[in-house]
Point group: C2
Chain length 408, copies 2
Amino acid sequence: MVKINENYLKLPGSYLFSEVARRIAAYTAAHPGVTITKLSIGDVTRPLVPAVIQAMHKSVDEMGTAEGFHGYGPEQGYPFLREAIARHDYAARGMDVKPEEIFVSDGAKSDCGNIGDIFGTDNTVAVCDPVYPVYVDTNAMAGRAGDYVEALGRWNRLIYMPCVEANGFSPEPPKETADLIYLCFPNNPTGATATREQLKAWVDYANANGSIILYDSAYEAFITREDVPHSIFEIEGARTCAIEFRSFSKTAGFTGNRCAYTVVPMELERGGARLNSLWNRRQTTKFNGVPYVVQRGAEAVYTPEGRAQILENIAYYQRNAQVIREGLTSAGLACFGGVDAPYIWLKTPDGMGSWDFFDLVLDRANVATTPGAGFGPSGEGYIRLTAFGGAEDTVQAVDRIREMLRRG
Amino acid sequence: MVKINENYLKLPGSYLFSEVARRIAAYTAAHPGVTITKLSIGDVTRPLVPAVIQAMHKSVDEMGTAEGFHGYGPEQGYPFLREAIARHDYAARGMDVKPEEIFVSDGAKSDCGNIGDIFGTDNTVAVCDPVYPVYVDTNAMAGRAGDYVEALGRWNRLIYMPCVEANGFSPEPPKETADLIYLCFPNNPTGATATREQLKAWVDYANANGSIILYDSAYEAFITREDVPHSIFEIEGARTCAIEFRSFSKTAGFTGNRCAYTVVPMELERGGARLNSLWNRRQTTKFNGVPYVVQRGAEAVYTPEGRAQILENIAYYQRNAQVIREGLTSAGLACFGGVDAPYIWLKTPDGMGSWDFFDLVLDRANVATTPGAGFGPSGEGYIRLTAFGGAEDTVQAVDRIREMLRRG
């Protein structure tokens, strides 16, 4: 008799974004004619930029000819893309990351989930609280999270690191020894960043303990302040203790185009094994690479035109973030993030619960948000707003929330 | 200290196709000016058909406009594609497979590898011998294969089912109880098919033992004989014991375009859980769907024009298979497969070893093949030839091998 992976049965309820979608759908069904403005799911809305479109058309044409056809590509990504990434995302910022250390993939979500394959199930895992649910759920599936304790809203084997107002939503290394540490800066959901000194403390901790930092910098393109680090590899010592995840999703609007990459430095070894080799083995065995057409599209992001065009889109979203942050702050709400990130972390008024405030804003302002509690216990009392909507919609949504607050 | 997944360290040597590529590269480097004709790696060579190219161009254009842009799609695939698959690949052949049972993905390799996530590590796994290495390696990574016994070329916890001339390369259910059973028909590497009666015996065995058949039918489009089943779901009782993997790779030349799908019937339950829900949870947590442009390309395969065009390409490869089979059979070699499959399984002359014959054919005929021993112990004494090359190359390769045999 087949035994299923029992860990799956421990996963509580439905995935956060599904529940948000369900509530919105239910509300819309019950209130025909009402239009909901979404500041909830973190999906981009600006179309792909002309340089990417052009490159994709060109490569689609290639795929239709005998000479230009591309079959199986290297599982790790084509050299043209790995080299462009190394040059523009790393060398240009003074970091030495080699193309062989870069694994192109179909998404940071896939990579953050699949990276667990190469680690034992007996590692201790530390996550921020609140946290992007994928880190927690994938570890729960692997058995590293232990059991879910409903009353606490926590897994009993995970180390939760509260990210709260008092620590600027950027935690210090824990007292316990964590083996695998998920960090995400600029942060989803709080929009917080970490300083160079804070990251240095993490790198020192990881090197001292043999831990590995799984660093998600999917939002680095949104950093506006000069001194905020874009990559963990800007920090001395990171190459012996960190893996970095990046994505074209938010940087270049690739959420429906699917391209990302993961950096595993050659120096990174544990238990006598080079992690670059383990990840290479994982990817070559369970993955067959990203579509040629998509990789050509991603390459175009690094051309001068492509670069200029995506920066316009990022600036567009950054203006939205500013509108939300300033509009709601001036209405008396406490807002965090949104300066170096597309996310604004809003404290609910009067200590209201996340889901209650979510329902209230949905009903009174017809704006969809994401309840902070869905990202972990320390997210209770917050909601997440995203800057990925249209400019007019964003202005309107902020106005509606302000109006709702005025009405009291 | 981080513990790696120790199972990775048990994986022997390099992946079969890498070793083949390495030997070809070494030979080419040592013999400048010599051109190697590849009948080795199973990659297609015909370009994408015009209907697919058109659909991709159209959807690339959409992605460049605010109205037509598609961000995150459903992780399971867009309804337009799931419905087209259900209608054309199943309903048209009298099978009732619902769109909700179809999970669109980036590849059958990914799905065959990732499906293990939803099963416990203590299941007993049965594989054919010879076998597509991904089934074995992914189970080894999960710990289900036990330890690799170098002297036997086998893992000590896997059940190997020899596929040999005596059983027509189609094994009977084993005496032992296997929980997870990987079957692939038409088979890679042997090109063998299973009869309806043989599959019925498997389904009965699986239902009697609570086993699950993981049925890879990636090559079903190459079936020419009327009575050969295209899907495990043609067999009564399969919906309570089987998962099916299919791909656009060989059917429509999508090896560089990346699209496949997996069917998990709603009736399939084990340990009180619906496997469709478990796989849905796995995919929504660790995967973000296939690029919109690629899904539109895959949809075009089901239009009348698209269908006619891909059938032409399949017929082209089928003629290659015939050329290989007939050309080498008439030269006195024993050939199997190649009738309902793009693979020909060639018995080496004089009981020569697979790798020796590989080296001989590479050196004397300048033809690259794949050594049967690379697919498992029972593959020793065979090589695999593929029909995916150009027609002229295939004729030439066959001529060269015949010439080599004549020279003795």
